[in-house]
């Protein structure tokens, strides 16, 4: 058996005829050699998918997986309904007030800049990936988005760095992502593989027919169904299916708005004598995180004023103290959600041109179902349990007999 250096690349033949590049942890085995014989869990995230979009006509493979396994129709994303925090919740099993990752984009008070939470150090809670590794299991991440690859960093035993990454979207197309997932299973066969398929979300964001035909979105859904079908076929043809748990979910869903349904809070704050120049906004599609940057002794009054101004704006649904949503202090002083069919565009009206958005309560419903041939999977079942993204880690832990993390999970095992 050959061990790889930590940052060394392993290039293997790709299904499409090219090569796939993986990195691996120091000492990771080159070939299939997982300590725990046959148990496998595959978490497939269809980024941005809505539960009503899965059906026999458009997504027959996903529908079959759902119908033959256990479906959770009440499943939900958790605030803020964005990609990074929900992927972190999946892999930690805890809410953002414990993981430190409340949104995609935050105002970093130390650096005095609005930035994505895409650094490995941003995630401050042990992931199920790391904890499995410590128990001798092997893990893999195949994440189509650059910022996801960024925040999960080198935690997994085997990692695929998204490639090719499209300009603007910052993600790899699903066909390439699935090539990498299949290649990882075939080559390294980790106990846990965590896959993010980004097309559905990325195409959804930019689909100008989002409020009408959703032409591009529909095409992306059909394609991701094909990709998931390829993965299932691999598991079945290779004999892995009987020992596998396949958990399919989304991190959030999607809502579309027209160009005239914008909410820009920054200009409103600038018109207020108390707030002008003293508020930072981290825009997260359907959620704005507001930060008071003025004097600490005026924070309470300023937050009350922010709330008042925000709630008076057309298209604003609600405003919340971050703690009420179990978000960390990094989420700022106030979280504002927009209504369905609207989006935030801050600091200016042209700042957010994309029609598809999420982050607000309208985008809470997600698909969440568990398939596979493992004995723990209940077949042809539908559960009334309120499954959430934070339930993934406890579910993974259940399969591998992993102890709960310090302080316990915030989610529940769904097997």
């Amino acid at each position: 058996m050959t061990s790889l250096n930590r940052r060394s690349f392993l290039r293997v033949g790709a299904l499409a005829g090219g090569t796939l590049a993986y990195t691996a942890a120091a000492g990771a085995p080159l070939a299939q050699a997982a300590v725990d014989g046959k148990r496998r869990v595959y978490v497939l995230v269809v980024d941005g998918c809505r539960p009503d979009e899965i059906g026999a006509d458009l997504t027959p493979r996903l529908a079959a997986l759902r119908n033959h396994g256990t479906n959770f129709p009440r499943a939900e994303s958790l605030p803020v309904m964005e990609t990074i925090p929900n992927h972190v919740m999946m892999m930690t099993g805890v809410r953002p007030d414990r993981s430190g990752v409340p949104a995609n984009s935050v105002y970093d008070r130390d650096e005095k800049v609005v930035r994505d939470l895409d650094r490995p150090g941003d995630l401050r809670f042990p992931t199920v990936i790391s904890r499995l590794n410590r128990q001798g299991f092997t893990t893999g991440t195949v994440l189509s988005k650059e910022y996801l690859y960024g925040i999960f960093g080198t935690r997994a035993t085997y990692r695929w760095e998204p490639e090719p990454v499209l300009p603007i979207t910052g993600h790899a197309p699903d066909a390439f992502t699935m090539d990498a997932a299949i290649g990882m299973v075939e080559r390294f066969d980790p106990n846990l593989v965590f896959v993010n398929l980004g097309d559905c979300d990325r195409v959804g964001h930019s689909d100008l027919t989002g409020t009408t035909l959703q032409a591009a979105r529909q095409a992306a859904l059909a394609d991701v169904d094909t990709q998931v079908g390829r993965f299932v076929d691999l598991l079945k043809s290779s004999g892995r299916w009987e020992h596998s748990v396949v958990l399919v979910l989304a991190d959030h869903s999607m809502d579309w708005s027209r160009p005239d349904r914008l909410v820009s809070l920054a200009p409103r704050f600038e018109e207020d004598p108390m707030l002008a120049g003293r508020v930072q906004i981290a825009q997260n599609g359907g959620a704005d995180l507001l930060y008071w940057t003025g004097a600490a002794d005026r924070r309470t009054a300023a937050v009350a004023r922010m709330r008042e101004i925000a709630l008076a704006a057309d298209g604003v649904l609600s405003a919340h103290a971050p703690a009420d949503l179990r978000l960390s202090g990094l989420a700022g002083d106030l979280v504002v959600f927009c209504r369905s069919g609207w989006r935030f565009s801050d600091p200016a009206q042209y700042s957010n041109p994309i029609p598809g958005n999420h982050g607000h309560p309208a985008t809470r419903p997600i698909p969440f179902f568990i398939g596979g041939g493992h004995r723990l999977v209940k077949h042809r079942s539908s559960s009334t349990a309120r499954a959430r993204t934070v339930d993934v880690a406890p579910t993974v832990g259940r399969v591998f007999g992993l102890a709960e993390p310090r302080g316990g999970y915030d989610g529940h095992a769904r097997l």
């Binding site: 129709p73 009440r74 869903s253 539908s382």
Partner: protein, 560 residues
Amino acid sequence: MTPIEIDRRSLLVAGAAGAGTLTLGLGDPEPAEAATAGNRYFRHGVASGDPHPTSVILWTRLTPTPDATPGSGRGPRVAVRWQVARDRRFTDVVATGAFTTSARRDHTVKLEATGLRPRTTYYYRFLYRGLASPVGRTRTAPAATASPDHLRFGVVSCANLQAGYFAAYRHLARRDDLDAVIHLGDYFYEYAPGEYGAGNDNQDVRRHVPAHEIVTLADYRQRHAQYKRDHDLQALHATAPFIVTWDDHETTNDAYRAGAENHQPATEGDWFERKARARRAYDEWMPVRMGDTVDLGDGTALYRRLRFGTLAELSMLDLRTYRSKQAQILADGTVSDPERTITGHAQMRWLKQSLTQNRTQWKLVGNPVMISPVVFPPFPQDVTSAVNDVTGLLPEDGAPYNVDQWDGYTADRREVFRHLADHGVKDTVFLTGDIHSAWACDLPLDAGTYPTESGRSVATEFVCTSVTSNNLDDITGSPRRTTSLGVEAAIQTSNRHIKYLNFDDHGFSVLDVSSRRTQMDYYVVADRTDPRSPASWTASWATRANSQQVHPVDHPVGGR
């Protein structure tokens, strides 16, 4: 409320002005009346209602002396014993007690049996002077944390005794698989004989008692008593717990907060006093928690929630007590006036809370009048907004055909639909009565742009038909499924979210709820004027979990 309001009013006038009404069966010995010779003290049957996981309401009416007739104010104060058992023979009695009743409450008996087990079938009876009442069967709700694999409800509305026999109730009573019966209102009608019977010529198949429009407390009590003597209704009450709400006819036609179409203050007195009397009688005679308890006189709030584990919660609405007066002109901006309400502000807050608390997968709403837009044509909301910026004249969702339902209060409807969309609420199903016809509908965010994303469906609605009250073929005098087909096609052409419509048949429905889907089976009776009428299945429609859309199903759920 009745469908095609203008036609029905015309018929009433014609009936009153004519040479009299032809009354069928007047010489018959009330074949549908319960024969309770062995139970002379319990002539009005037994009933249960509003099941909770560990309790259920039990009801009967005692006739302790022959002169203690309903509404008479006569008869002694007496105590009645009650028993709840696990078996029909009462060898395993699990709860028992005594209840004192008197003429003050028209000798009705209503109590809450507590300490029961969740989702368990029980039998109950009352005892007086050594004689037992008929035995009733009831069933408690699942525990709040339970996840039942399915729930099954009978769904009924609009039972006009003068328009026919309650064969629909009888057929539903033959099922042994019901967790409860949801009655969506118009449990009885207020009219005098000859005022609202069967068909185009307004024939009374049976005659109302008292023989005049009910106005006084004694009147309302007697009308309740008459309906409770119906054998088929007694059978259904004895089969499963009822979950009821009222529509207008439990008081009078087209009721609203401050009046009613069928209330004339000059001859019938103060509206609020009449309404209070109707509610008093309802509280006495129905197995329901009003004011959130079984006690009389502790309030008349009827809207309430009943929870069935994590599978479903049923929010029963009261759309008569708090509503604004109906619009007088169908196609103007009045129906969209945000100052007008069908729910009242407190009930609207409560309903929205019911929908977003998300305690259960399915959010069922017991909805006395239709919420689906039925408009000609449905205007895209942006179009009406633009026009109304100038004129303020257009109804926001299009010209409604019936302003007595949510179409007459579009601001409230928009508030509910927007709430569902804004909060990502899934699996809301409205269960509706009132309109004497059967419907299955998607509920579009904007009927004018349905089914695109901006007009997408945010919930679904199943409407049950009437037990007996007139529908379209009755009014037109046409054979069933002839002239109505054109009307149905016209409505569905303009309203693409309406997927199923049957304007002709009477009957009942069965609602089956599982985590995968909620399905409504529509059954019809062959002839409402035949007390022995057979019934048959005619259609089934369902909504899959997360879909917010209805689709046809090719067979009904079976009994168990």
